[in-house]
Symmetry: D2
């Protein structure tokens, strides 16, 4: 690119998702991190403030950058990535969005009628809501949200099946990674030799967000898809990668081998546009009996952590039902990676100007 890079701020930069932003935006062809915002760590250098818990070595440039408090009115950037905690996001995401194109991982505004909840491969047309948003709120900037980390992989896997067979019900049990709880997150005494069958608010979020993302956009709103979604969540002792076991019932009869083709052939706008963070294949279908597995497969694909890995596709109870296991990296596609992909698509569609 001849022109200079867009300057990006990261809000909540010392958290687990913040750390993924730092990693994924280093050497990004279009965006450059120029502002780090954190509340508790404001005033320190990033290298002093962050409890880095990844084996990846953080870039020296960022480690030596100062972390500052949020100043939505005077920030000098071209776009904003927010991974603030829910409460802080309620306060700040809209203030930033009033002035800057803002992509947020927080759950705070995901279900607002005029806020797109986006997976670029799944519902790029929902970006059209931004016109409603601008009209209604009078913002110079905009707010787009990235979904819950468990909903993300689920919706990517359901989308092509829904298009092909029309899903009526999805019953899902999850086995979610520890990094999904942030840091410090789950105490080790709770999870060694254990499974916790509960994550506060998660089941409701996954169901509602799934229906919103698969919903149809009319002139100025999204009608949630009518499918039934029942989610049962569990925390297990894995570091990264949410595994989900799904049973679906469909309107049209479903053939297992054909369904695998449908999953394999799925492509979206990010693949057409060849966006930098778009994986070649949004869905990787594995044929081995015992895959996907979190430790082996969470980084599979051409852009590690961005593909949803599906396996064990098999018959359900009859010709109108299907079972499968899916794996999605929760801090990459389930957070920072999806948000960056949103920003890349917005960039190419002229929404960042």
């Amino acid at each position: 690119m001849g022109k200079s890079k867009l300057r990006a701020a990261i809000l909540g930069v010392t958290g687990m998702v913040g750390q993924q932003y730092v990693r994924m935006l280093e050497n990004h062809p279009w965006f450059e991190v120029t502002t780090l915002v954190g509340s508790r760590s404001a005033g320190k250098l990033y290298g002093e403030a962050v409890e880095w818990i990844d084996s990846y070595e953080p870039p020296a440039r960022i480690m030596n950058m100062p972390v500052k408090v949020a100043e939505p009115e005077s920030e000098d950037v071209d776009l904003v990535f927010s991974s603030l905690p829910t409460e802080a996001a309620y306060q700040l995401d809209t203030k930033y969005a009033a002035r800057f194109p803002t992509v947020s991982d927080a759950s705070s505004y995901r279900m607002e009628p005029d806020v797109p909840l986006l997976i670029p491969e799944v519902n790029p047309d929902h970006l059209g809501l931004l016109e409603v948003q601008r009209r209604k709120r009078g913002w110079k900037g905009s707010l787009v949200t990235s979904p819950n980390c468990t909903a993300t992989g689920l919706v990517i896997a359901l989308k092509p099946l829904h298009d092909a067979y029309r899903i009526r019900k999805a019953v899902v049990s999850t086995m979610q990674a520890l990094s999904g709880a942030g840091y410090p997150g789950v105490p080790s005494l709770r999870i060694i030799d254990n499974v916790i069958p509960y994550i506060k608010g998660e089941e409701e979020k996954v169901a509602a967000e799934t229906k919103k993302m698969l919903g149809a956009k009319s002139s100025d709103a999204i009608s949630p898809d009518p499918m039934g979604v029942s989610v049962m969540v569990h925390r297990v002792a894995t570091i990264d990668g949410h595994l989900e076991s799904a049973y679906i019932e469909t309107e049209r009869p479903v053939d297992v081998e054909e369904a695998k083709e449908v999953l394999r052939d799925f492509r979206g706008k990010p693949q057409e546009m060849k966006l930098p963070t778009a994986p070649e294949r949004p869905i990787i279908v594995m044929e081995q009996d015992d895959r996907p597995q979190p430790r082996l497969d969470r980084m599979a694909g051409s852009v590690p952590g961005m593909s949803t890995v599906v396996g064990r596709v098999r018959r359900g109870l009859d010709d109108h039902s299907l079972r499968l296991t899916l794996l999605s990296h929760n801090t990459i596609r389930g957070a920072a990676g999806n948000a960056i992909l949103i920003a890349e698509m917005m960039h190419e569609l002229g929404y960042l100007e």
Copy 2:
């Protein structure tokens, strides 16, 4: 009891389930272990042969007993507990059953039409098949089987709900403990920071066994229950205790609070008969948001490891569906404990004479 104890043989005594038999029969009021049978370890003392992997200290009496090869024709015992590997059980379970009352944990004969597959609280009437069995096979002894460790907890939880609401479909995802794979079982390199979404043959077994146990006994056979059962299995890094997340659809409308009462109030013949290994409550219902958990709850109840612990009972997609999480100790209620309870019930009903 004034009379002397019945002499019991344990087949496959050095395995994980064999170790549970040793533990649970020590100080049993009615049965006494007098014969230890193992193939690879024959000729050694038990203490030399066994790789004891429990924190419980094995009884000195047993540690000093010799392990011998199987001699079904000349064994001098009153009853037999078999926890042989599948292949060996095919060879030996029927040879023992020809002469002795035999209770087997092996899957080999579970689905035979004239072999009861039994959970004493659930289908004690299936014991009536033994008449058919004797007639057909001409045995002096008998063969009763104990179900798959995953089916066991599931069927205990489904039974009272089925009676109350008539279940049409059950969709179940399991998170199974390492001890279910025996010893050495799952390599540690496979399971640390991981989940394996596959256990060979398990999904089919759980579905078929569930339908047999909940089936109706006619004069000389069992008609499997017509409900649909779809099972998706996963191995997780827990030592003991299979956790199962279930979604059911029912014929009659179901009320969540009432369903909890139905589960809580469930009692069976073992409780009526006050059998030594019968837990006071076959089902324990927990109200906390985040329970049951394998490490905390697998030993809950008056006879540790014998109760099924149910939690997170909540609404499914509509008035005819329900979700719940259940936990069952796989080597106790899921194997040795259930087999011992079967033998105790047979004893009281005169089947061991």
Copy 3:
């Protein structure tokens, strides 16, 4: 006992050690818990306040008792067990000790010259310091401290060897359990597939406390033992039980088999006095190549969690050195259990009157 039980308060009762006190004092023959003190949880019932993380089911009587704030001046009890965090213990332990016999697990006063740091089997004569303490401080009550959980097992194993061979140097590497860090303690993201070679302040504490406990009591002070103690600590992913690998050099030549006898034959005052919480054998020596192991052996012995389990006793570099591995339960003998044993010994010696 004909007389009624002594009434005990537990300070810091909702923490991990507090939970062990509750468990171990239930049904105690001499002591009865009558007062629960906690700061953050004051005003709640114990059952509401505690995050119980053990599979043991807490006694209903205690679950329904209120937790109250500390009121050292008006408490109505006969003795006090303190497991307060260090800072709170600085404030409160001495206030309670001014009025009541107080046994504290906190590190706050362990190194004070007039405060006994006690393992009843090792240095019961250090209780004599209480005369100095009373004289110097004018207290009606008294303060005795229980050592660091890592020092406890180490000192128990070193004591008989020191008596027999005179230890000059001990080089120790520890592999410590998660429960030693309290709750919530170590984040799971830090410890899965990992070891942390650091625990703040631990190495210094273990060295200093070991030398104090093995030191000689003169008329009114303890001279620390002159042996060199070098400790390197590590946190590993075990729930309970600190494993320690020790290399020692001795003044007198040491024979391996004789050293095992010396360890096996070790008995102390609690065994002589047959105190209720005294294990029959303070040290259990295992001969198997691969023991002790935390999960298998932390509860070994006649009073689970109170014995130090020693194994792999073998030659060091020459005739004056020895190596061994030891295991000690950190929240039982390393905290609540040792404190209760101290109180039992004080009771029998008339210090609680």
Copy 4:
């Protein structure tokens, strides 16, 4: 390079170390894998035979290559890497060495007087033994061995300290990763919530190999270094990376800050020669209190897995002792990586012609 690559055979190619060879030799500038040898998997394609347990995706070229039986007399290669199990290595390593330059990870011949046991940074001069070897055995090829995975990191860290301060004693406790036991290796039931203080034969190997590698080469033999080495080994629940906690006593007084410089400044022949697999810094010294940690640091440095990471350098008992923690990747530097580095050095020194 203008000339074509040297053709390499890998013996034992489906094992864990074999898998590392495949990964590290893909795209190697000088060597090309042309022959895969395995016993049980002979006749299959590599992709069918291997139980791949790494998240790295194996190269398609290798996955489609056949695995063949060993034929030392007719193999058509330029060099051989052997990672056979001990027994097979006894049979085959010398047969291959009779014809080809062979680098072996097996322990079988490591302690033979005429066989170099090599870490290229530590004792490159020991390669001179090959003249003795050729003379004595009449081989066309040669045999060089790569040390035990625990000895490797230890010796790299001790070497510069030994040169600077002359080490008299090293007391080492290890916390070793699961991959060191191969596959299937340690059963998961043994290691969850546990530590195993034993690995058969390991302590003796580490001590003897350390002394050989640090020993002096005379005209035709190595005199083992006289330092005392006492090793206590433990298996912990980490995937990769052996952590070792070391206490050393030195002849000359040692200053902590200076010792860190000595470690940091260490460079060897591979760095001078800029060998492809040589890390820029053989030793990385970390200053953080709680590092190195296996999961975070095992892949640190310019060639992941090839550097020894040292931390917690601190005073021992007096001016002549020092403590430190070190981490070394056991299947990379501790096996395949070191063997490849040996071959690279031999290549540059003309030993492969």
